[in-house]
């Protein structure tokens, strides 16, 4: 699959704020690509740069090899699904969906057939005559998608399309969007702050923060192998243990000095120098917990700990334990019937352990508010 | 996006028609008034050549000064009376239940929807010696058959209050509606008597509305023409009448211009004053963390 939608070194500033800072991105044809990040990270600006509503201060945008940076939005083969849906209130559903084709001066018969096809795709065949104010949130969203897709754009841009829907509806629409993408097969560029949406829908995700891309990759890679502290903290939960590299005995692992704990083994997937300060990121579900001390194994990090908090959630339990002065979160799934076991309770002494492969060494990271 | 040249060009294109029109028909004429004030009058009723200070000097006559003074105190009195009536009314409407609020507002605004000239005329007939009010007052023994209710400053003030009251009520209502009345309850709880709470908590709370109300009455009052012309008589003459007299009776445009220039300055003064106050209060507001 070739690079289809390309951003080369684009930057955009609004007043004192650098919204996008020298970002380069290649999106492949037919891909479902998400830009994920907190508000203000620049993801919406990137979308608007692709749509043509903003011009970059620096850098260029390419579509299918052609430089579209200077093209106005009406001349790009790109269509947008707006966060507020932006349906034309004075037009019916049919007229809304057919708007792009009407502007393109297609024959009336063709427009009618295409609109019918779209109404079928979004399963609103009998509702073509309604006006937007007669539709529910989910229906409006589907009409917005249909209105964009009917023009067969090269890329479909979606700006947090599910943000205004309630939870149940959002889950339903997630599946619908996925199906639509599979059926229509065009490139989707999806912007969201919701990691669940991004992870479940995307072929690849770019995590953005403060106008820059932190990491790009398939969802599993982003989750399992975060490259920066921001990505590790933003997606799912994780524990950060600050420390310093003692040495790297072999190419795969380094020994780390973390205050209060015996030397910890961390997974080395970058070139790390001895003495370098790092934050070790270990996800709670990768940590095991038990009353008894586990068997010692070469790549196993095991420590005694004390249980501080227990949050029982039914399918799993969250434990907050203290080991070596650090407060660590452990997520334990209940794969077997739980009531036969001796439960771990507050103030119980216990052991926690994880495999060195599950601890990533990242640059020291301080999340806001900590 | 503001620095984008394409957007800038669009902006100029859309704004240009009104910018040109208003400059041509508002800014230029106003400047012209100031210019003409310094030119002599042409014996045929037009504008002569050359420059003179005669028109400005003629402003300083006792007759003109008396009219200026009368204009000022009539406007101040009108403003004061309007405020005194508007504050309780605005308060009542703001405290009224939701359903009633809009109806009351409609009642206040509807008279404004009718011809202004007609309303002044209505008062002229009401206050006429043969009119209803005079007859009623005579019947009640309060006035004699010779007293005229018309053609004096009091009539002017009455009709001006009538005209401007809706404009005064609306801004007071607008701020009162946003006012948190629990503050008054808190004051009462702390021992303040009703009028004290009103004076020390409510009034300062709606001061922005009061300010707008003052401007909305005072400035147009200064420039009143029809009302003093129809119900003021010689005793109720204001600057507006004088200007009209200079134009149509005396056919002396430059003197009219001089008077108008004074009126422009008189009108600008409170506006500028308010702007300065607003800027000061905004700065203070930012310092104290107060929201506008």
């Amino acid at each position: 699959m070739a690079e289809f939608l390309e951003f080369r070194g684009v930057s955009k500033r609004f007043g004192a704020v650098q919204a996008v800072d020298g970002v380069s991105l290649d999106i492949k044809k037919g891909e479902f690509f998400s830009l994920l990040g907190p508000s203000g990270c620049g993801k919406t600006t990137m979308l608007r740069l692709a749509a043509g509503f903003e011009r970059p201060d620096a850098g260029r945008v390419f579509l299918d090899g052609r430089d579209i940076t200077d093209l106005p939005p009406d001349k790009r083969r790109v269509n947008t699904v707006f966060q507020s849906y932006a349906l034309f209130p004075h037009m019916t559903v049919r007229d809304n969906i057919g708007f792009g084709l009407t502007i393109a001066k297609r024959p009336k018969g063709e427009i009618r057939d295409e609109v019918d096809r779209m109404l079928g795709l979004i399963r609103m065949t009998d509702q073509g005559g309604k006006k937007p104010d007669q539709l529910s949130g989910g229906q409006k969203q589907r009409v917005a998608v249909a209105r964009a897709l009917v023009n067969k754009p090269d890329v479909l841009l979606l700006d947090e399309p599910l943000a205004a829907l309630d939870l149940k509806l959002r889950q339903k629409m997630l599946i619908e969007l996925d199906l639509i993408h599979d059926e229509v097969g065009i490139t989707f560029l999806y912007v969201t702050h919701d990691q669940a949406e991004a992870m479940s829908l995307s072929d690849r995700i770019a995590v953005m923060e403060a106008g820059r891309i932190e990491q790009i990759g398939p969802p599993a890679e982003i989750y399992e192998a975060p490259r920066t502290g921001f990505v590790a903290a933003f997606i799912g939960d994780t524990n950060f243990l600050d420390g310093r590299v003692l040495d790297c005995p072999d190419r795969e692992y380094c020994r780390l000095r973390i205050a209060g704990l015996p030397p910890v083994l961390g997974f080395n997937d970058r070139s790390i120098l001895a003495g370098q300060p790092i934050a070790l990121s270990v996800r709670p579900e990768k940590i095991h917990i038990s009353h008894e001390e586990p068997e010692a194994r070469p790549q196993r990090n095991a420590f005694p700990a004390v249980v501080e908090d227990v949050i029982y959630l039914g399918a799993n339990t969250k434990y907050w334990v203290r080991a070596g002065g650090h407060r660590i979160q452990v997520l334990r799934q209940h794969a077997r019937y739980v009531l036969d076991e001796k439960p771990l309770r507050w103030n119980d002494a216990c052991w926690i352990w994880w495999h060195a492969d599950d601890g990533f060494m990242l640059d020291p990271f301080r999340a806001d508010g900590e | 996006m503001g620095s984008d040249p394409i957007i800038k060009r669009q902006e100029w294109l859309v704004s240009l028609p009104t910018l040109v029109w208003l400059t041509l028909f508002v800014v230029v004429p106003t400047l012209l008034v100031f210019v003409i004030a310094f030119r002599p009058a042409n014996p045929y009723g037009g504008i002569g050549a050359g420059w003179t200070l005669e028109n400005v000097r003629s402003l300083w006559t006792p007759g003109t000064l008396a009219i200026a003074w009368r204009t000022l105190w009539i406007s101040l009195l009108t403003t004061a009376i309007s405020l005194v009536l508007a504050v309780p009314t605005g308060y009542t409407i703001a405290r009224a239940p939701e359903r009633w609020r809009n109806r009351l507002l409609m009642l206040v605004v509807v008279p404004f929807w009718t011809s202004f000239l007609v309303r002044v005329f209505a008062w002229k007939s009401l206050l006429h010696p043969e009119g209803l009010i005079k007859k009623l007052l005579e019947a009640a023994g309060l006035v004699g058959p010779e007293t005229t209710l018309l053609y004096n400053p009091a009539a002017v003030v009455l009709v001006m209050v009538y005209t401007f009251l809706p404009f005064t009520i609306l801004p007071i209502y607008a701020t009162a509606e946003r006012f948190d009345f629990r503050l008054v309850e808190a004051a009462r709880d702390l021992g303040a008597r009703p009028f004290q709470a009103f004076r020390r908590v409510f009034l300062p709370g709606i001061r922005r509305g009061i300010l707008i109300a003052v401007l909305v009455v005072f400035i147009p009052s200064l420039g009143s023409y029809i009302i003093p012309d129809l119900v003021g008589g010689p005793g109720g003459e204001m600057i507006g009448n004088k200007i009209a007299q200079r134009v149509f009776t005396d056919r002396n445009l430059p003197q009219a211009a001089a008077l108008s220039a004074v009126l422009v300055l008189a009108v600008l003064a409170p506006l500028v004053g308010v702007l300065v106050l607003q800027r000061k209060s905004r700065k203070a507001g930012i310092v104290m963390g107060e929201s506008p």
Binding site: - | F25, P29, T30, V118, A122, S125, L271
Partner: protein, 257 residues
């Protein structure tokens, strides 16, 4: 906590104060007596006299011609101005623009009237229908702009972006999306401009010439120089017309929330 009755009393008095003169005026238009203090039953005599009066018809014709043309021009100018003020709001140009638009709204009419008179005299433009037209447009533009601007505040501009996104050129998106959606506000502004033009006295008084007597000017001279009670009838009719126009304007400017 017992609330004082005082504000309520004042409000009631104020309301009575507002409507008394109008009610009496309307009542008197049906009173055939020469002096309003004597009631002589209901009659349409003054209305009949009105319809038979050629000066009144002439004045009406002139007033309407001016009002319609003024409305047309000020709606176009005012809508464009409102769009500019809203879309490009914070720029320096718009701040100047806003100050200019604001002027006719705060300046006393007599100042506008006299300054325009001076300008026309200085420029050698003969006073008449044209000068009245120019003067009316000047203040109507501001009112139209403010009315449309109010409607624009609630306007979701993403529909314009959506139209552009779907292939519409700037002109097409204006014609097919912006204007239809603004139409209620535009019509509200038009009705307001129409009413203001029909009703204007002071400014018209200063810039009118011989032969361009509008209805308000005619009413004024009727009031000033003897007052046949025909004025009551004329006033009542004028009341009804302006009332209806502004009512419609209000309804439209507030329509879909």
């Amino acid at each position: 906590m017992r609330r004082s009755r005082f504000p309520l009393v004042v409000t009631a008095l104020v309301m009575a104060f507002f409507y008394l003169p109008i009610l009496i005026l309307v009542a008197n238009s049906f009173n055939p007596a020469r002096y309003s203090s004597r009631w002589q039953g209901v009659s349409l005599v003054w209305y009949r006299r009105l319809f038979e009066s050629p000066e009144v018809w002439q004045a009406l014709k002139i007033t309407l011609v001016i009002a319609v043309s003024v409305t047309a021009v000020s709606v176009v100018l005012g809508t464009a101005a409102a769009y500019a003020l809203h879309r490009y709001g914070s720029s320096r140009l718009q701040r100047v623009h806003y100050t200019l638009i604001y002027q006719p709204l705060v300046v006393p009419e007599i100042l506008m009237g006299i300054s325009l008179l001076m300008a026309f005299v200085a420029a050698g433009v003969p006073l008449g229908l044209l000068t009245i037209f120019l003067a009316h447009v000047t203040f109507c533009v501001s009112f139209v702009a403010m009315t449309v601007l109010a409607r624009l505040q609630d306007f979701d501009f993403s529909v314009i972006e959506a139209a552009r996104d779907l292939g519409a050129s700037p002109w097409q998106s204006t014609r097919k999306v912006l204007i239809p959606l603004l139409m209620p506000g535009i019509v509200a502004g038009a009705l307001l401009a129409f009413t203001l033009s029909i009703d204007d006295f002071v400014i018209t008084f200063f810039v009118a010439g011989p032969g361009s007597t509008t209805l308000p000017l005619r009413i004024y001279s009727m009031i000033k120089y003897g007052a046949p009670p025909m004025i009551n009838a004329l006033s009542t009719l004028l009341l009804l017309v302006t009332f209806a126009a502004v009512l419609a304007s209000q309804r439209l400017s507030r329509s879909k929330r």
